[in-house]
Symmetry: C2
Subunit: 225 residues, 2 copies
DNA sequence: GTCTATAGCATGATAGAC
DNA sequence: GTCTATCATGCTATAGAC
């Protein structure tokens, strides 16, 4: 395996584990058993290296999502696609990618989850933009299948769904730190998200009964602002 | 307002916006209009400053959550507490805190969302530990109210619920970047999460029909590993 | 393509005057 | 408590030999 690719692997691993700013080029080149100058030779600078890490896996991933959605839509022939199918097209590819790509895939998805939760960082923008392209297609599909929801509510519930996925990814092996032994790439977790999100998306928009405050006043003093 | 508190505010703001490693003490002291050495004088070092940022708001927050849950449980007198009430006790305090604490509260919750998504960082551990104390109490309450779910599944679905909350926090003003104008502290978002999570938690555990692969083979070639 | 050497700068921390 | 000055170290990036 060439230096260029080893650098990519090392960067993927360390960016996912420690974050972008907390990882130095020295850390990366040491792990890749490459020279410090090699990053600059092959990629130009640190940020371009991060972009390369994303570029390698992100495009195939979103292409697979959209191909699945396309196929389901063709199958439905103009009718709304079943909710479970839309969710499957959206959520299954990253989980399957974790299987296919092994440790690298797991680390990559952890990085994705991380960046998605902290979108302000440099180049996170790049990633978000690419992701939003797919998101818009899915937004339309969800809206079609869930006509009882307003546009804004669909947006919010998609966000909740993405959150569940991204968090699972971000936690990686540490998922549900305490006791659940399930690995994030296991089917069990994917099915759990599918089930949870499907029910959540199908819920009525307005039927919420905010519970009354209990008898005991639970307000406590807190530091002012 | 004393220097010590101004440092806390500045650190809260910058850690939330840029992350811990990407923020320098010089940035913080400049924003706080304080001397570079003041951080060391008042807090010892950078990491202790982060811990102080957490300590200021985290304890009251979790205390409020648990007080609410206590009150609801007392009200229920041994019976399982209604799901909506458990969720309310868990989710409402951070949203209300954002109102009460103003900008500082919003930034703090953004920081919390950030750290929760990237738990490996230094001192994130501290935060996670404190949070887990509350989490265990809530896990028991959820399990009581949802006897149809296995222990592991309750854990996973709590995780999904927390994810929706944390992501909303992490995105702050940029929530649902595209079009939804709703501020994260608005009741609309809180209600959306409540509704979504309640339905998701109530769903059956096993009834999932994974959709069949569509006719068109959607597999594409991808880089090997 | 790979390496050494180093420029040029930012960082966290501290010593010590006031 | 606040300030200046500075240390020691780490960083990204690059120049130039091989």
């Amino acid at each position: 395996m060439g230096t260029k690719e080893r650098l990519l692997d090392a960067a993927e691993e360390l960016f996912a584990e420690r974050g972008f700013s907390a990882t130095s080029l020295r850390d990366i080149t040491a792990l890749a058993r490459a020279n410090l100058a090699s990053v600059n030779y092959h990629y130009g600078n640190k940020e371009a290296l991060l972009e390369a890490v994303f570029a390698r896996r992100l495009q195939p991933l979103n292409r697979e999502r959209l191909a699945l959605l396309d196929a389901y839509e063709a199958e439905a022939a103009g009718q709304p696609v079943e909710l479970q199918k839309i969710l499957w097209a959206f959520l299954a590819p990253p989980f399957r990618a974790m299987h296919r790509w092994g440790d690298g895939g797991r680390r990559f998805m952890q990085l994705v989850g991380r960046v998605y939760a902290a979108p302000i960082q440099p180049t996170g923008e790049t990633f978000i933009k690419q992701f939003d392209l797919a998101k818009q297609r899915f937004q339309a599909a969800f809206q079609n299948t869930l006509p009882h929801l307003s546009h804004d509510e669909v947006t919010r519930r998609m966000h909740h769904t993405i959150a569940a996925m991204a968090h699972t990814m971000a936690w990686g092996r540490a998922f549900c730190c305490l006791r659940s032994q399930a690995e994030p790439e296991s089917d069990v977790v994917l099915r759990s998200i599918l089930q949870f999100a499907a029910a959540g998306l199908l819920a009525a928009e307005t039927d919420l009964s905010v519970p009354a405050a209990p008898v005991t006043a639970a307000t406590s003093r807190e530091p002012g602002r």
